[in-house]
């Protein structure tokens, strides 16, 4: 094994997670918002696999979990795209700033 330990993986996934959060908070386009969400989900995936490899190598639970996460992320991305398209039809714009009708 290489001297890459669990901590390295966790730091990597944390960094990826917070990059995704930054994108989520900053992006104005809904589609790019979705991309940031995908980054977040992927960072979680890395986390599961890292724990599986280093802490529970005799089981495959983390692996299965990340498999399911991939499946669910795919479903969620599809639904989100459908909503974006619907929103585009009614507002003619997919700027997040324009979707603020639910204000006080």
């Amino acid at each position: 094994m290489s001297p890459i330990g669990l901590n390295h993986m966790l730091i990597l996934s944390t960094a990826l997670f917070f990059i995704g959060v930054y994108g989520f908070l900053t992006r104005r386009n809904l589609v790019t918002l979705l991309m940031s969400i995908e980054l977040i989900l992927n960072s979680v995936n890395i986390n599961f696999l890292a724990f599986n490899k280093y802490l529970y190598p005799e089981k495959l639970d983390g692996l299965f979990f990340s498999l399911f996460i991939i499946a669910i992320a795919a479903a969620e991305a599809a639904v989100a795209i459908a909503i974006i398209i619907n929103l585009y039809r009614s507002h003619q714009s997919i700027d997040v700033e324009d979707a603020d009708s639910l204000r006080y």
Binding site: V21, F24, V96
Partner: protein
Amino acid sequence: MIDPDLILILLFLPLLSFVINGLFGRKLPGSIAGMLGSVSILISFLLSMSVAYTYFFQVGNISGVYESLVPFQMTWLRFSENFSINIGLLADPISMMMIVVVTFISLMVHIFSLGYMKGEERYETYYSFLSLFTFSMLGLVLASNIFQTYIFWELVGVSSFLLIGYYYQKPSAVAASKKAFIVTRFADLGFLIGILVLSYYSETFEFVTLTERLVPGDSEYSQAASSAGFLGISALTWGLVMIFIGGAGKSAMFPLHIWLPDAMEGPTPVSALIHAATMVVAGVYLVARLFPVFSLACPVALDVVAWTGIGSALFAALIACTQTDIKRVLAYSTMSQIGYMMFALGVSGYGGEQGLGYMAAMFHLFTHAMFKALLFLGAGVIIHYVHSNDLKDMGGLRKVLPITSITFLIGCLAIAGIPPFSGFFSKEEILLASSHSNFGIYIVALITAGLTAFYMFRLYFSIFWSKKIEVNSGHRHEGSFSMLAPLLILAVFAAISGFIPFGSFVTSDGTVLETHFHLEFSILPVSLSVAGIFLAWLLYKNTSSVPGRIADKAGTVYKVIYKKFYIDEVYEFITKKIIFQLIARPAAWFDKTIVDGMVNTAAAATQVFSLSISGFQSGKLQHYAFYFIGGAIGLALLFIYYLS
């Protein structure tokens, strides 16, 4: 025993009539409202006669002394174990006398108004207000504690306000009613302070208990009250003087008299009832009610009463000589006669022979009610005929108003104190009492008596004699029967009520006081009155320019008296320049800017704050996500580092 139910019925029947006339009067046809009011007062009058008879001749006289009985008492507000405000009825000589007087005069006025106010648009409102007034006045005289007196005192003031302002379309009537209410209300502040002082030291509101505790000089209550002081005057004196100020306001004593002449804007029967016979004597009644405390515990206050009374009497008599409005003359005459009653109380002692002044004051109250109501109702008939209040529109009316002429003459003779009419007897007792105690007051009272005779007969001659007018019968008539009957009844009483042995019933300590007829004493006042009548006869029987020339000769003196000594102008100056500018204006500024400003600022601050917070709900997804992430990080920090 006196049946409390009778008293309660006679008290509340006018109230019932007030409610019915007030709520349903408009739907009652014709003059049913007036009939209803008159019948209820008639029943009250009969009941009050019955109750007074029971008191004076059956139960009140306990071993030679008329005791104060309390047939009904109910605790209303209990503050502590032995201090509460009650509602009760008090039966003693003066309250029994007053309920008879009040219901009788009210009955006469009700009957008179059936004819006088016939065809008025708000006929039923008038009768409902009259009933309200009667109820309030009866409640005032029957009250067994000073707080209840105060409640009914205010109610009487309200009824007076309503009735003076009855012709509310006239701005002068509205102004007069406001003036009356404000002046008496202002005086009632003194009354309230006096109540608080007295009840603080005697720890009770009940009249009976109050006199028991404050009168003996060695009781702990009166010691406490006399020793505590403010500005060198004992608390007891302050309390009594304050109460007297309240009474002076209601009784139109100088300098709180300014409302009474203006109150003549009301209908004439109202003036007869309220501002001649009943309400204005409320102040006298109050002093009489507290008389033991005044005379035995605090003679200084009694001196204040006496000098205010005689001062007002002379003051009003002087002004009445110059006025040309018939009702104004009668109003100043009322003020003068009430001054008589006040100073009679003021010079009186307590008990036995020294209590002559008290008995005389109450006697004069009784007779004055009769003849003053008579004079006012007669004035009502005259005004109704001539359609004007001013003397220059009247003259030579004795041919067209014969009954009024005779009864008015009887009233004038009574007020001038000519025997054998009632005024002679009561005035003689007053002059006798004052001659025994204070010679200065006696002299001034004599002068005032002469002036009284003069101005009353000036009035009489100017109305009924001075000019010659042609009689065109059928065009206008004297008045209906309902207007003339009260005149006749009252004239009878004005003539004969002097012969009632008042000293057997109403005296300062309840024991019988024998009165005698002192011929040599009475010669002086009677001759002064006759001289006054003669002078008036000379000047006014026929139209002449002599009065005018006398007025011009007197010059400034006449002008000052004619302008009522400029008291109204002084008040106006004080209120406008001093109170409004220096007190009212800053107070209004403070209220608008600071008090309102505080509330408005609080509201504005809340609004600004809420608007700034509402920005949190921007509807933008990323804002919410930011709050979420920030909150999650914050909570995580909190839990990891501070709450582990």
